[in-house]
């Protein structure tokens, strides 16, 4: 077990939380939330489409407002906390998203790729590092690669000049043993900081974040209220209380986070906080939580079981951004059902 450093919180409430409301985050949500959370000692507040800037689309959901306006509104309402944003390679580009985001006030950048495709982010990370922005490489869907593969990929990101790596358990499919092995391997093999972004499909988000910390992670990327895709994320206030009990320093303040949750997030949630059945199955099948809304809609359109869609998507190795596959799978299941009669 490693020596514990001060833990920093990346607040993805307005980014991953976009998924929870079908990307319908409004300017008043952003301004109210940013004002409230600015007192809470977050390392950075990440804002944008759930799949990152440039992902506002039919494929992954259209934002209710211009993506750059989301950043501008947030920048206007954050006085102490740096504004951050997120870009997935293949959806957003340096020219159309990263440069305008810098102009809109973004200081911290998370550049994401599927966990085996780190080389696709080289230009983006090098560019941001060159212009002096804080930049993290994000590897998504880590349950689909071995610790050794993830170390190789993270090593590439380190060589591009990133300040750190954030590992995303995008489907909430990692067991505590997986987290221990992956974070431990990266901690031993890397110079840069390691962050972890859990999902709660199997009810393990806070626990897996804690395991990551005990094995060397110094950044936890989570959300207030656990507000996020599918079953939601690591609920930062719960993790903070746990870390306070254990005497682990964070710089984050509990009451301001609880107040922000009460004042803004509670009113935005369209569903209860218990883990829904489809989300449990998505975690079991190892399929990204971001598919939930489309899966449920298409399941109802084609009169098939949403859970069966998730299982089939898992068999096909579907990853973030492949939302169009849901329709094809639903049509196939519907044909099978018809034939079976």
């Amino acid at each position: 077990m490693s020596v514990l450093k001060k833990i920093r919180f990346m607040d993805s409430t307005l980014r991953d939380g976009s998924h929870a409301v079908g990307q319908r985050i409004l300017p008043e949500h952003i301004s109210a939330y940013c004002q409230a959370i600015d007192q809470a000692g977050m390392h950075s507040v990440i804002v944008g489409h759930g799949n990152g800037l440039g992902a506002s689309s039919v494929q992954m959901g259209l934002c209710a407002m211009d993506e750059m306006d989301m950043l501008s509104v947030a920048a206007d309402n954050l006085k102490r906390t740096p504004l951050g944003t997120f870009v997935t390679i293949g959806f957003g580009t340096i020219r159309d998203q990263i440069v305008p985001a810098m102009r809109a006030g973004a200081q911290t950048f998370c550049i994401a790729a599927h966990c085996t495709e780190a080389d696709t982010m080289r230009k983006h990370v090098e560019y941001l590092s060159h212009v002096g922005r804080e930049v993290y490489g994000v590897l998504m869907n880590i349950h689909l690669a071995s610790p050794e593969k993830l170390l190789e990929q993270a090593g590439m990101i380190q060589s591009y000049g990133a300040d750190g790596i954030i590992l995303m358990d995008s489907a909430g499919a990692s067991t505590p043993e997986d987290v221990k092995a992956v974070v431990g391997t990266l901690y031993d093999g890397l110079e840069m900081e390691i962050g972890f972004h859990p999902h709660n499909n199997l009810g393990l988000a806070v626990s897996n974040a804690y395991t990551a910390i005990l094995n060397g992670a110094s950044i936890i990327d989570g959300t207030v209220g656990g507000f996020g895709a599918g079953a939601g994320n690591c609920q930062l206030e719960a993790l903070l209380a746990l870390l306070m009990k254990e005497g682990i320093q964070t710089g984050a303040k509990l009451y301001p986070i609880l107040d922000a949750e009460k004042a803004v997030i509670e009113g935005m949630l369209e569903y209860g906080k218990a883990i829904e059945g489809t989300c449990v199955v998505s975690g079991y099948a190892g399929v990204v939580s971001t598919f939930k809304n489309r899966v449920e809609q298409v399941a109802s359109d084609y009169q098939v079981d949403a859970r069966d869609i998730f299982v089939e998507l898992g068999k096909r190795g579907a990853i973030a951004g492949q939302d169009d596959l849901i329709l094809e799978v639903a049509q196939m299941l519907s044909r099978e059902k018809y034939r079976g009669r």
Partner: protein, 303 residues
């Protein structure tokens, strides 16, 4: 029978795929295959196939300029930007498979005739070759379309260094082609467009899949289905592995979705790499249009 002689520059996967296809062509032959690394296995294999090979890159094209009339450039955008003026001075026709966009964007089933007078044509991107024709067909049957979006999923195994280094260029070029070929609206400001790509590492590798979304009020799905189906047949005439997987359907009110997959012909590359196959097929198709025209003009015997 006489054939038009071609050079291929770039001895990677795309170059080899082109070589295999040219071998089968009735009007094209490969008279020069150029790489930049003497130890390249592909170069050695091409030599064994009886092709004249060289490892000194652009210099070989200059030294042996009497050997060919058409050049296929399968290097990189940066390399092509340097080579293009040289090739122009030498009066060579260029089929550019890099995302350099030096020449006119070429999607053969939509504009091969317009490209006949061009000295340098650019073959857009794999996603562009698959989806721009369908976008064109869809908007013809549904002129009230206001928005077009494409997303392509390719296997990681089929994405070489060039693709991986240039994902941004892929997006910008695909989007530009959507705009040029299907973005104009009668009497309107032009349609909004968006292009995206996903690399999936699943093993065994997945076959390339593409989805086109369109926004339009009161779309006539039957007319759209007919128009898109007809275009798919035209694409299939030079890309046999092109297949509609989800016929045009309403995803929700005012949003149409259509999905197609592209299976490769297995020339040098595995069948899942339809993304590489569709762009080389398109390049060969355009080169054959040049060749047929020249053979006819010059009264050379075709067959």
């Amino acid at each position: 029978m006489e054939k038009i002689r071609c050079a291929i520059i770039g001895s990677g996967n795309i170059g080899m795929n082109l070589l295999y296809k040219i071998k089968r062509s009735h009007v094209l032959e490969c008279s020069l295959f150029v790489g930049r690394n003497e130890k390249s296995e592909n170069l050695r294999d091409a030599g064994r196939m009886g092709v004249n090979v060289a490892a000194n890159s652009t210099q070989a094209l200059i030294d042996q300029s009497d050997l060919y009339e058409i050049v296929f450039d399968a290097t990189t955008a940066e390399a092509h930007r340097i080579a293009a003026p040289l090739l122009k001075r030498m009066g060579k026709h260029v089929i550019d498979l890099t995302p350099s966009k030096v020449g006119k964007l070429c999607v053969p089933c939509l504009n091969w005739q317009d490209c006949l007078g061009e000295m340098n044509v650019n073959m857009v991107t794999c996603g562009g070759q698959s989806m721009v024709p369908l976008a064109y067909a869809l908007t013809r049957a549904c002129p009230q379309t206001t928005y077009l979006e494409t997303v392509s999923t390719i296997s990681s195994a089929s994405a070489g260094t060039g693709t991986r280094e240039n994902i941004d260029e892929y997006i910008l070029t695909t989007r530009q082609a959507l705009q040029e070929f299907a973005g104009g609206m009668p009497g309107g400001d032009g349609r909004k467009t968006k292009a995206m790509i996903v690399l999936n590492p699943a093993d065994p590798p997945i076959i390339m899949r593409n989805t086109l979304y369109a926004m339009a009020e009161d779309p006539d799905l039957e007319e759209i289905g007919k128009s898109v189906g007809k275009m798919a047949e035209v694409i299939q005439s030079y890309v046999p592995g092109f297949q509609i997987m989800v016929n045009p359907v309403l995803l929700q009110e005012g949003i149409i979705a259509v999905t197609a997959q592209v299976e490769g012909a297995g020339d040098f590359l595995p069948a899942y790499a339809g993304n590489l196959d569709i762009i080389t097929c398109a390049g060969i198709e355009m080169a054959e249009h040049y060749a047929r025209q020249w053979l006819e003009e010059e009264g050379r015997c075709l067959f």
